[in-house]
């Protein structure tokens, strides 16, 4: 799983049936790389979230038939821009 931030909503009317009517969000990681994920929790722009990848992403949607490789599995209660970029603490 990874920590990512919701950047914006994504609308794709024309899509494969496998994606069903699942909501999509554009996310970025700490380095600024963009990815698109199915949102199973209802995250808002700016939220820091946990993303689940690979085949577990399909289970995480609640229906393993959904054709996704990345799903938002939870909204992190306490995370910040600073925490994201801070280096490993000494001795840890």
């Amino acid at each position: 799983m990874n920590i990512m931030r919701v950047v914006r909503d994504l609308v794709t009317t024309q899509r494969v049936g496998g994606l069903q009517a699942r909501q999509l969000r554009v996310l970025e990681d700490a380095k600024g790389n963009l990815e698109v994920a199915v949102d199973a929790v209802g995250a808002r722009v700016g939220d820091f979230v946990i993303t689940i990848a690979y085949s577990s992403a399909r289970i995480a949607t609640g229906d393993p038939r959904v054709t996704t490789d990345l799903t938002i599995g939870g909204i992190i209660d306490d995370w910040s821009e600073n925490k994201w970029h801070e280096p490993a603490r000494a001795g840890l």
């Binding site: 799983m1 920590i3 990848a53 909204i75 992190i76 995370w79």
Partner: protein
Amino acid sequence: MRIFQVENTLVATARITQLENHRLLVVRETSGSRSVAVDPVGCKEGDWVIAVGSSAAKDAAGHAKYPSDLTIVGIIDYWDAEGPGKGAR
């Protein structure tokens, strides 16, 4: 399996039900890159651990329907971070 060091517990109250109430930890590789892992073992902050990915992550977290892509499977008794194979930091 990959080697990680446990950084801290991650609290996510709003989560999908399939994640159940398993503990999630922020873990760090020797390269410095962070991930989030399911912890069925009971790790402390600072522990060096081994974690599995792909389908083994699901089984290791409890059952084949558990949506994990990274699960801790063991705490390393002794790990010298400055020893051979320390990786790029």
